[in-house]
């Protein structure tokens, strides 16, 4: 009787270990922490729209410089790359 109970417990532990080590369980454990509330929302600005002008500051190590989208009008294309945060990879 005692041996039987031991066997059931050890099989149970083995199953638990298998479930915990499977990649799908690990992924679902990590996902909710960085959850995006609105995934793949439609874009406000579309191809063909006029890009809204802006003026922002950039630091070049010495001075703060104003950079505006209109500075490049008629001169260059602009690849405007928004990213999540500095120091977060990508």
């Amino acid at each position: 009787m005692k041996r039987e109970r031991m066997r059931i417990i050890s099989v149970g532990i083995l199953n638990l270990a298998l479930v915990l080590s499977s990649p799908s369980v690990l992924q679902t454990q990590h996902k909710p922490q960085n959850k995006v509330e609105k995934a793949a929302a439609p874009m406000k600005l579309k191809v063909g729209d006029a890009a809204p002008d802006f003026t922002l500051l950039a630091f070049d190590g010495k001075d703060l410089k104003k950079v505006s989208l209109r500075d490049y009008k008629g001169k260059k294309n602009v690849a405007l790359a928004f990213f999540v945060f500095a120091f977060t990879g990508g």
Binding site: Q33, N34, K35, V36, E37, K38, A40, A41, M43, K44, L45, K46, V47, G48, D49, A50, A51, P52, D53, F54, L56, L57, A58, F59, D60, G61, L64, K65, V67, L69, R70, Y72, K73, G74, K75, K76, N77, V78, A79, L80, A81, F82, F83, V84, F85, A86, F87, G90
Partner: protein, 109 residues
Amino acid sequence: MKALQQNLTALEGADTQVLGVSMDSPFSNFAFAQQNGISFPILGDWGGPVTSRYGLTQKLDIQGVPMETARRATFLIDKSGKIINEQVDDDALDPTKTVEVCERQKTKK
């Protein structure tokens, strides 16, 4: 940002200025650029007014702490100020498409 840096020569060769934007201060963006060998300007959209104007503000919940940040996106804007390509979220990680459209734009003229 690093992927854009790797394609900077191609983009500049196709008459394109690369500008990064994040909701950090211009100073942390400069430190980030230095640490990662990024030579194009990264603009500080502190508080996110421009991110919001471009419809990219997203609310994140990081370990139960709410944070507002920008959605990853690359807009390609032509010389007339019109958006001619946009890559959003994971698509914006790889600048290949942006480079392609720039080069096509160049051969058009």
